[in-house]
Amino acid sequence: MPAPTRRSVTAGLGALAVAPLLPRLAKAEQATLAEAARKEGGLTWYVAQVDGETAENMARAFTQQFPGVKVSVMRTTGQVAYERLTQDLRNNAPQCDVFSTTDIAHMPALMKRNALARYAPENAQAIAPALKGLGEEGFYYPTTYTLFVILYNSQKLKPEEAPRAWTDLLDPKWKGRVAVAHPGFSGYMGVWTLAMRDLYKWDYFDKLARNNPRIGRSAVDPVTLLNAGEVLVGASTVSNGLLSASKGNPIGVQYPTDGSVVCIGPSGVLANAPHPNAARLFANWLLSPEFARIATRYYVFPARADSPAVPGAKPLDSVKLIRLTTAQIGKGVPEVIEQWRDTFS
């Protein structure tokens, strides 16, 4: 251990002395940030974690809280958002300020090319302990999460008729009536596909292919097909299912007995963000109590420890969960995308 220098001791003491003042200082900092953001006028948010309508609603709530800071929303699936971002970087044409993806492995990859800004939002301390280690201190943080579960059309199926486990989707009785997304587009779908491969080998998808599933792109797509009665069962997020059910659509949620797959949605500020202050203000807001309230209203789980419960969702400790690490996702998702294209095209 190196001997403490005078400077480090002074700095340490200084920090101690300042500690009680932190909240007030943070408030002042937030005010100057908000002022600087107003001068920038707005920001561009690449987001995959929620559907387009929810993203627009969230953006409007932010602008209501910080008048004069408009959010231009670019909602698409996680992989497509990442492609766009990579093209922006390649062509040195920065557009994106805050990036909220559904494939957490995008973040370390962006850090590697120095594309993420160093920013530690003050609200990051409020992240739930279980999620805390998932980000990279000072670069990116989990802002929302959800579970990949089985959804079914509750008008045409009784709860006891719905599949109980992921393996039930392979039952020939769902032939042509099961919907999934595409891991080449949806980040969460990639995580789920990887989880299934870990559990049941690729054999699971060879069997699923025999059931001729309807393959959308976004994980929102199966919900639409369920609503239309086009399919009876599908794989998507509990958030998509509950949101759609809240609008009066016939959607039932089934937490599979072989495990709901945890999907983490991280957010980060871009190093070359055209609106650096607005970006930081927004990134901090994604971890704020205000965001947590709005997110839960749209059935998305916020990262904060003190978030209100998502109405209608089972408490997580009563659900069997499957978790994958960022490293597993970073290595496995590109593989399963290729395998998927070979099996399903």
Binding site: Q95, R177, I215, V220
Partner: protein, 570 residues
Amino acid sequence: MARHVQLGLPARWSTPAGGLALLAIAAVLLFLVVNPLARLVAVSLQDPETGAFTFANYLAAYGRPRYVQALWNSLALGGVVTLLCLGFALPVAWGVARTDMPGKALVRVAVLGAFATPPYLGAIGWILLAGPNAGWLNRVWSLTGARAGLFNIYSFGGLAFIIAIYSFSYLFIFTTAALELVSSEMEDAANILGAGPLRTALRVTLPLALPAIAGGAIVTFLETIALFGSPALIAIPARFNVVTTQLLQFFAMPIRVEVAAAYAIPLLLITLALFGVQRWLIGRRGFVALTGKGGERRLIALGPWRWVLFGYAALLLCLSVVLPYAALAQAALARAWGRGFSLSNLTLDNFRYLLFVHDTAARSVVNSFTFAAAAASIALLLALAVGYIVARRLLPFAPVLGFVSMAPFVIPGIVLAIAFYAAYAPPPLSLYGTPLILILAFATRFLPVGYANTSAAIRAINPEMEEAVRILGGGRLVAIRRVLAPLMRRGLAGAWLLVFIPATRELSTAMFLYGPKTRTMSVMLMDMSEEGNFEQLAALGFILLIATLVIVASAWPLIGRDFMRRREGA
């Protein structure tokens, strides 16, 4: 003097100013047409890291069975669609051009309607109609007690059908034009020799129109293999790839522009070759009956059969216009389209939301129309300059300029987009994500349409009028501004619209060139389809159609009034 002009060596324009004009126009054409294509070829032959010459990109592009399969799928799709279009278009074209079939005006208007429908919008209408379980047609079918749906739009056949239903108009237009020129004498001869109307039509009339039919078939084939929207909507869920969807995959992670370029080159070569064949066919004048000279043309009386033919035409138009638009309207006005027709399900909220709440969608509407207007203006100005120089033979090498202006006609939109991306997205120009790259790409894509129309308009005007200005001491620019431009206003407005309208709905070029702030409505529609949000999707489609109609309708009297005024002045 006149002889001098015809030789293409007008002494008066071999001035420095003339040379400068030629240089400027040549530079613009070089920038828009030649350089992107050259870059495309170059990139396909380069190692992306070192820039060294290599064939590795071609190996990567065609080294996997999946990728080769996509090419075969495209060719098969082109073939099936062309056959379907022949089956759709020929009977109806024969009915309209040669027989006493009733309702001809209606049929022509409806064919125009099918022609004017963006194929991807029609595809969405058909997803609502023939989704395997919940599509309207299948729901009606299930009333018979059948468990499985009758139609499955998510199949190779389904895709071929919906492409054909929106592209048979090419063959219809080509064929009617040719059939209207065939004189009745030949048919009379066949009749005298004992052939019935059907036999005559099949053995005499249609063969006479064969070059036109073959030309139309080739255009249909090429349009099909270059199509992006409908395959993206249908083929991905149906789990097969075609060339265009495969090209988009090369733009996925890791982005391989060089492989995409290599993969696109055969598409370009096929197109070039087939257009060569088409020109040769159309250019052949071995069919004496088609000289357009004399000959009496009488309509064939079909008797009760004329109603059968009309029924066929009506069915076709139901499939391409009536049914899909009904399905789209229902979705656009519904809270949830799956809930069907009921008063409680009726709402205008989708429109309100898109126009006033959804920031990105509203901007995409504005983008589409401003980009299209800018592109149409650029294309037309350029076409006008080239057309004038070519028609008046003002400069040496003028025909080369005309040829280059027509060249984009044979470049599939998706290939043009990749070429533009390779040439202008990266530094030094760094046009990536800017409106300019979209505007320039649209202008290039539709330059041939503008050129064909403006040069026709210029040719229709006798140079004498300009010569008069020059004799009276006015310069050539004065002649252009005061004489030529007013005379051509109507023709130019028409040409402008002919570029503007397809540019508002262009998808395959926009798909590769848009940025976060430059999304067009067509791209927005594709993004929304990703989420399966059919209600808003349909509403956005209607906004596109209604806005186009309003613009065309408001431009029409303008052109008309101008026309009237000129007559009064005369």
